[in-house]
């Protein structure tokens, strides 16, 4: 047998692959190391100077546009003092104290540090922030607006309330996991106006994409919490409302709506044939009802111009006769007085169910949750005494709720899939 010193082609290939893997691994380590080596910014030694009142007022408005208080206030707690539990698929995150308390809030933060948190998602001490704080949206907020928000938060009464540590599962509770998430999904990005669009559209884009952080709910997330599908609908954790697609006509797209109708919905909470419920009622109550009409018009224009998306509708299958009969009976006993014998609703009071996109959207979670939890439309300047729907959670069985929602989805020209009692049970 002839002896040779030559390396076999297989071994050569293996060593090349090993070298490539080593280079890729080193590059990965370098990128993660870069993500993790964030310098702390200096703490303020004295309280931040009092900003001029115009700047504070502007910041107050922007805080409403971003609904900062919505997450950063606990039920019954001091506004902006943090503590609200926000459930995620990776565990629970507790919102932080934004009041200017030196020990527990932002009292030692500079405007620079606040801007870095908004734009880069990094805390003053250099830690990476959990993207439940939607800095993938806020990265587009301008420095001037960030400074106004900073001035407003600095003007609030200081509340001494220590931040509660997040209760995230391993490995999501590590800085390494956050560095990986950022490497995959996040790049700091100033808002870039689109020169082919007018100023109003650009203002709308800035609000929807930036402070409004609509994508936080209305875009889906992949298994690692990265964005998946731009404003094409998402699912909220606990309770599992669906934030409908803002691009699909079959869900909550407004491409075919007048601007004025979208503005009215965001300002008043109800408009012709539509009213907000669930998490969107909170958004209108806490945030959009307080925005000026010019900003709402800009947002409506931007939403109207979103690229439409068609949602695949499954082939229609009528429910079984006994389920439909039960649904009709439950409807006659509980729903007909308000929503009408033909599901036509009552103008100014109760939404129509016939032709209602929230009833007929492909997934049935929202109409089931509406029946389980009930609720009022938000009280707003235009609708100070809203009508309400009772919660049926303790009054109807899973089979009855499944039947009545199936009845709604398959009556008066509605053609959507049937709901199983099991679907209701999962949402209780």
């Amino acid at each position: 047998m002839a002896h040779t010193n030559q390396v076999s082609p297989v071994r050569r290939l293996l060593s090349v692959a090993a070298a490539a893997a080593l280079v890729a691994g080193l590059a990965l380590v370098f990128v993660l190391w870069q993500q993790l080596s964030v310098p702390a910014l200096p703490a303020l030694n004295s309280p931040q100077p009092v900003a001029n009142s115009a700047l504070v007022e502007r910041g107050a408005y922007l805080a409403l546009a971003g609904n900062c208080a919505g997450c950063h206030s606990a039920r019954g707690g001091q506004p902006y003092a943090g503590g609200r539990a926000i459930p995620t698929p990776f565990g629970t995150v507790f919102a932080s104290n934004l009041t200017p308390d030196a020990e527990t809030g932002l009292g030692r933060w500079s405007a620079e540090a606040f801007w870095r948190a908004m734009h880069h998602g990094q805390s003053r001490d250099g830690r990476l922030l959990v993207p439940v704080f939607p800095y993938d949206s806020y990265t587009q907020v301008s420095r001037a607006d960030s400074d106004a928000l900073y001035a407003y938060l600095g003007s609030l009464p200081a509340v001494a309330q220590t931040n509660r540590p997040h209760a995230l599962r391993w490995p999501y509770n590590t800085q390494f996991a956050l560095a990986t998430w950022r490497m995959l999904y996040f790049e700091p990005q100033a808002f870039a106006p689109d020169a082919t669009q007018n100023a109003e559209w650009n203002r709308g884009a800035y609000l929807v994409r930036g402070l409004g952080h609509c994508a936080a709910c209305h875009s889906a997330r992949d298994a690692l919490g990265g964005p998946a599908g731009d404003l094409a609908g998402g699912r909220l954790p606990e309770p599992a409302w669906l934030a409908p697609s803002l691009r699909a006509e079959s869900e909550a797209g407004v491409q075919h709506w007048d601007i004025a109708r979208t503005v009215e919905l965001l300002q008043r909470g109800t408009t012709t044939g539509a009213s907000v419920m669930g998490p969107m009622a909170e958004v209108v109550f806490e945030s959009t009802q307080h925005l000026n009409t010019a900003d709402l018009r800009a947002m409506a224009l931007y939403l109207q111009a979103l690229a439409p998306q068609s949602v695949q509708q499954p082939e229609f299958e009528p429910a079984r006769g006994d389920q439909l009969a039960l649904g009709e009976k439950v409807y006659e006993q509980n729903c007909v007085d308000c929503h009408g014998a033909q599901g036509q609703g009552a103008t100014g009071a109760y939404p129509a169910l016939a032709g209602n996109r929230a009833v007929t959207q492909a997934q049935s979670a929202n109409p089931v949750l509406a029946v389980l939890a009930g609720g009022f439309a938000p009280a707003t300047a235009g609708n100070p005494q809203p009508y309400g729907m009772p919660p049926y959670r303790t009054l109807l069985t899973d089979a009855e709720i499944a039947a009545v929602v199936t009845h709604l989805r398959q009556s008066w020209g509605n053609r959507a899939s049937a709901v199983r009692p099991h679907d209701v049970q999962r949402l209780r």
Binding site: R75, G76, A252, A281, D337, P351, G355, A358, A370, P391
Partner: protein, 224 residues
């Protein structure tokens, strides 16, 4: 989510109208609390009709702000303004309806004696004022913010006293009723709830007028 009709349907259904008043708006409440706020004697839901408006308003904000724990109530109240909650409280306070007959649980003589003593005299040794000192001689409450105690399900009364004892229910500080409930024993709670739910209503079921004398305990809720 938003509920929205596309109106793309061929046949135009006949118009359906509902009354434009608070009673219609309160259909969300009366399914559980009974027609026009008059709960039945069975079950857990308390009657809200005819309670002092200040008391009802306090409870609405307590649920919304987490001083009382009931996710169903909180969900209903989350997006309502203080002004609307006051309208709602006044609406139910103004409803004057007959009460259903009281529940007829078995009240042993010992239970009866224990309850009646606490209701009429209290227990000075434990710094417990008499129930009637705040809730009125007729136990139908006192304006503006002390509730009546009659015509309520026994289970509901036990639930509330227990809630105060375990810290699930709070009122505005100083929480006088929390202080009272924590001084009660389990036997006291059982006797009081049973006795109260078995009482017939007096002819005049309205809350007593606001008292000129100070209450025996300092109560944050008394000044809504």
């Amino acid at each position: 989510m938003w509920l929205s009709a596309t109106g793309a349907h061929a046949a135009e259904p006949s118009a359906h109208t509902v009354p434009n008043n608070l009673a219609q708006r309160m259909m969300a409440c009366t399914l559980c609390h009974g027609s026009e706020g008059r709960a039945t004697a069975s079950g857990y839901f308390p009657r809200i009709a005819g309670k002092p408006a200040g008391y009802l308003y306090n409870q609405l904000t307590h649920f919304r702000d987490g001083r009382r724990q009931n996710p169903g109530m909180a969900n209903l109240l989350d997006h309502l303004s203080d002004a609307y909650l006051r309208d709602i409280a006044e609406h139910f306070a103004a409803i004057d309806l007959p009460y259903p007959p009281p529940q007829t649980p078995r009240v042993s003589p010992e239970m009866h004696a224990r309850a009646e003593a606490l209701v009429r005299q209290g227990d000075p040794a434990r710094k417990l004022p008499a129930c009637v000192a705040c809730h009125g001689e007729r136990l139908t409450g006192m304006n503006p913010a002390v509730p009546g105690l009659l015509g309520m399900p026994r289970d509901y009364l036990i639930g509330q006293l227990g809630g105060w004892q375990t810290g699930l229910r709070h009122a505005h500080a100083p929480d006088c009723m929390g202080q009272v409930a924590k001084a009660l024993s389990a036997e006291d709670v059982g006797a009081l709830a049973t006795w109260l739910s078995a009482q017939a209503l007096p002819a005049n079921t309205r809350p007593a007028p606001s008292s000129a004398n100070p209450l025996p305990l300092r109560c944050g809720s008394a000044v809504p």
